[in-house]
C-alpha cells in the first residue's frame, strides 16, 4: 500500500521572539492515517500542530522559517489562510462549542463560507453529527444551547463542527485531556472510524492513547523530533535512547 504524503515539512524552525520552539522539523505525514505527536510538556508538539493550519498567526511574536508543503503548496507562503483552515480542521484541548444552539454550532462554518440553503445546511448538520457519533444523542435538541451538553458530547460536537467543513485533515490538540475515561474511549473509537476518510493528526500526553489509536508516532523533545516511525516500532523497538527513556516513563 503506497499512501500519499499529505504534509511534508522541511527544516521548519519556529521562534517565539528570541526563543526557538521548533528546531529543524522534517516530517512526512501520510493521508488517511492517524499520526500521533507525543513528548513532555513544552516540547513543541502543540506548536507544531498549530503550524499546520496557521493558528500561530494569532500570536504576534511568532516567526517561522522553512517549508510546510500541503498538497504541493508551501502554506507558509502567500496562501489563502481561510481556504487552508477549511481543508485542515482543528479540535482543541478544551471543548469549545460556541454559545449558540447545537445546530448553529455545526452550521456556523458552512454559513461563513456562504452556504445559505436551508436543506443543504440541514443535511450537512445531520451528516456531520452522524459521523461524529453524536446524532442519536442530540437529534431532538438541535435548537438547544450546545453549552448544555456534557464535556464528551461537547468535544464530539467540536469534531462534528470540523467535519462539517468537509476537511481533508483534522488536527486534534489533546482532545481527550479534559474528558473522563468513558468519553475518551468514545472519542478514540470515533478517530479510528474517521481515519478512513480523513487524515488525523493528534497531540497527546497519553502514550497509551498514542499506542491504541495511531499508525505513526513522532516523539518530540525540546523542539526537535527525536524519532518518527510506525507506532509499534516506536513503542517496542525505539531507535533512540531518549525515546526509550520517555516511553518507559523514566522522564516526562
Amino acid at each position: 500500500m503506497n499512501k500519499k504524503i499529505k504534509f511534508n515539512t522541511k527544516n521548519l524552525d519556529l521562534y517565539y521572539g528570541d526563543f526557538q520552539a521548533l528546531k529543524s522539523i522534517n516530517l512526512e505525514i501520510y493521508e488517511k492515517e492517524v499520526t500521533a505527536f507525543i513528548g513532555p510538556s513544552g516540547c513543541g508538539k502543540s506548536t507544531f500542530l498549530r503550524c499546520l493550519n496557521r493558528m500561530n498567526d494569532l500570536i504576534d511574536s511568532v516567526k517561522i522559517e522553512g517549508e510546510i508543503i500541503f498538497e504541493g503548496q508551501d502554506i507558509n507562503g502567500d496562501i489563502d489562510v481561510i481556504n487552508l483552515r477549511t481543508r485542515v480542521g482543528m479540535v482543541f484541548q478544551k471543548p469549545n462549542p460556541f454559545p449558540m444552539s447545537i445546530y448553529e454550532n455545526i452550521a456556523y462554518g458552512p454559513k461563513c463560507q456562504g452556504v445559505k440553503d436551508k436543506t443543504q445546511l440541514d443535511t450537512l448538520v445531520k451528516e456531520s453529527l452522524v459521523k461524529a457519533a453524536l446524532w442519536e444523542e442530540v437529534k431532538d435538541r438541535l435548537n438547544k444551547s450546545a453549552l448544555g451538553l456534557s464535556g464528551g458530547q461537547q468535544q464530539r460536537l467540536c469534531i462534528a463542527r470540523a467535519i462539517a467543513m468537509q476537511p481533508e485533515v483534522i488536527l486534534m490538540d489533546e482532545p481527550t485531556s479534559a474528558l473522563d475515561p468513558i468519553a475518551t474511549a468514545k472519542i478514540e473509537d470515533l478517530m479510528s472510524k474517521l481515519k478512513k476518510d480523513y487524515t488525523i493528526i493528534i497531540v497527546t500526553h497519553s502514550m497509551q492513547q498514542a499506542g491504541r489509536i495511531s499508525d505513526k508516532t513522532a516523539f518530540f523533545l525540546m523542539g526537535e523530533v527525536v524519532e518518527f516511525n510506525e507506532t509499534p516500532v516506536i513503542f517496542t523497538n525505539p531507535a533512540d535512547k531518549r525515546t526509550e527513556d520517555y516511553i518507559t516513563g523514566r522522564f516526562g
Binding site: 493550519n53 493558528m55 494569532l58 504576534d60 481561510i82 481556504n83 483552515r85 477549511t86 480542521g89 482543528m90 482543541f92 478544551k94 469549545n96 462549542p97 460556541f98 454559545p99 449558540m100 456556523y108 462554518g109 461563513c112 463560507q113 438547544k144 444551547s145 450546545a146 453549552l147 448544555g148 467540536c158 463542527r161 470540523a162 462539517a164 467543513m165
Partner: protein, 292 residues
C-alpha cells in the same frame, strides 16, 4: 504558632465586620437619598403635572428620553466600533498609546467644558439655535470614552477558545468578531450603555448651552421637520435634570419647588426603569447563549 493562628482568625473577623459596615453604610446612604427624593416627590404630586402645558413636565420628560435616545444612536455605534478597534485591530505602539491617552483625557473632561465646546461647534459655528440634537452630540462626546473602554474590555474578556474555534473553521476575523465575539460581549456592553444613558439622563452642564434651557412646542404640529413640533430634534429643549436646576435657581413659578421635587423623583424612576429593562434584556441574552 497557636496564638498566631488565633490572631489570623480575629483579623479575618475584624476585616469582615469592617467591610460589612462600609457596605452597610453605603446601602443606607443610598436608601436614604432615594427615599428622600421619592417621598418628597410623591408629596409634591399635583394633578396635571404630567401635562405638556407650561405647568407640567410632560415636554421635559419627553425631551429627556428623546435626547438620550438620539445620543445613544450616535454614540453606541461609534463607541462600540472604537472599542472593537482597540481590542482587535490596534497594534501595541505609539499611535495606540496616544489614542488611549486621548480616550482617558476625554473621559475626565468636566462636562461644562464639553458643553461650551458643543456651544462653540454645534451652535455658534453652525449658526443654529439651541437644539436637542446638539445636546445629544454633546452627551455623546461625554459617553464615548466610557462606551469605548467598556466595549474594549468586553471584547478582550471573550474567551480566546471561542475565537480560535471560529477561526479554525475558516471564519474571517470580521466574521469572528461579529458573530462570536460581539454576542458574547453584549451583556457587558449593555452595562456600558446603561452607564452612558445614565450620563445623558442626569446631565445638565453639557446641555446648558447646547440643548438650551427652555422648550417651546406646539402640540398640534406632528411634522418632525417643523421646529415647533415636539418630534423635531432641531428645536430647543430642556431635559428634566436641567429643568430641575432652572426651577430651583431662577424660576418665577410659585410652585417651582414642588415641580422640581416631583421632577427629581420622576428622573430617578426613569433611570431605574431604564437600567432594569436593559439588565433584564442582558440577562435574557446571557441565558439564551448559555442554554440555562
Amino acid at each position: 504558632m497557636k496564638s498566631e493562628h488565633k490572631n489570623a482568625i480575629v483579623a479575618d473577623k475584624i476585616a469582615t465586620v469592617i467591610l460589612y459596615c462600609i457596605a452597610g453604610f453605603f446601602l443606607l446612604l443610598l436608601a436614604g437619598f432615594t427615599a428622600y427624593i421619592i417621598v418628597k416627590g410623591i408629596m409634591a404630586y399635583q394633578p396635571g403635572i404630567f401635562s405638556f402645558e407650561r405647568t407640567g413636565i410632560g415636554v421635559e420628560l419627553f425631551n429627556t428620553v428623546y435626547l438620550v435616545l438620539i445620543s445613544l444612536i450616535i454614540s453606541v455605534p461609534i463607541g462600540v466600533g472604537a472599542g472593537i478597534y482597540m481590542a482587535e485591530y490596534a497594534k501595541a505602539g505609539k499611535v495606540t498609546n496616544y489614542l488611549r491617552i486621548c480616550i482617558e483625557t476625554l473621559s475626565s473632561l468636566p462636562s461644562i467644558v464639553i458643553g461650551l465646546f458643543g456651544y462653540l461647534v454645534f451652535i455658534y459655528m453652525t449658526g443654529s439655535k439651541y437644539n436637542l440634537f446638539a445636546g445629544a452630540l454633546a452627551v455623546s462626546i461625554l459617553s464615548l470614552p466610557l462606551l469605548t473602554t467598556v466595549t474594549e474590555d468586553a471584547i478582550r474578556a471573550v474567551p480566546s477558545i471561542y475565537k480560535e474555534g471560529s477561526l479554525a473553521v475558516g471564519a474571517t476575523h470580521w466574521q469572528t468578531i461579529v458573530q462570536i465575539c460581539l454576542p458574547v460581549a453584549t451583556p457587558r456592553i449593555i452595562t456600558g450603555v446603561i452607564l452612558a444613558a445614565g450620563r445623558g439622563f442626569g446631565e445638565a452642564a453639557a446641555l446648558l448651552y447646547t440643548a438650551g434651557m427652555s422648550s417651546n412646542v406646539n402640540l398640534n404640529i406632528w411634522n418632525p421637520f417643523d421646529p415647533m413640533s415636539l418630534l423635531c430634534p432641531f428645536r430647543p429643549g430642556d431635559t428634566l435634570a436641567l429643568h430641575i436646576w432652572a426651577l430651583k435657581t431662577e424660576s418665577m413659578t410659585p410652585n417651582a419647588d414642588q415641580i422640581a421635587n416631583f421632577s427629581a423623583a420622576v428622573l430617578l424612576v426613569l433611570i431605574f426603569a431604564f437600567s432594569l429593562g436593559s439588565r433584564l434584556l442582558g440577562a435574557r441574552l446571557d441565558r439564551k447563549m448559555s442554554g440555562k
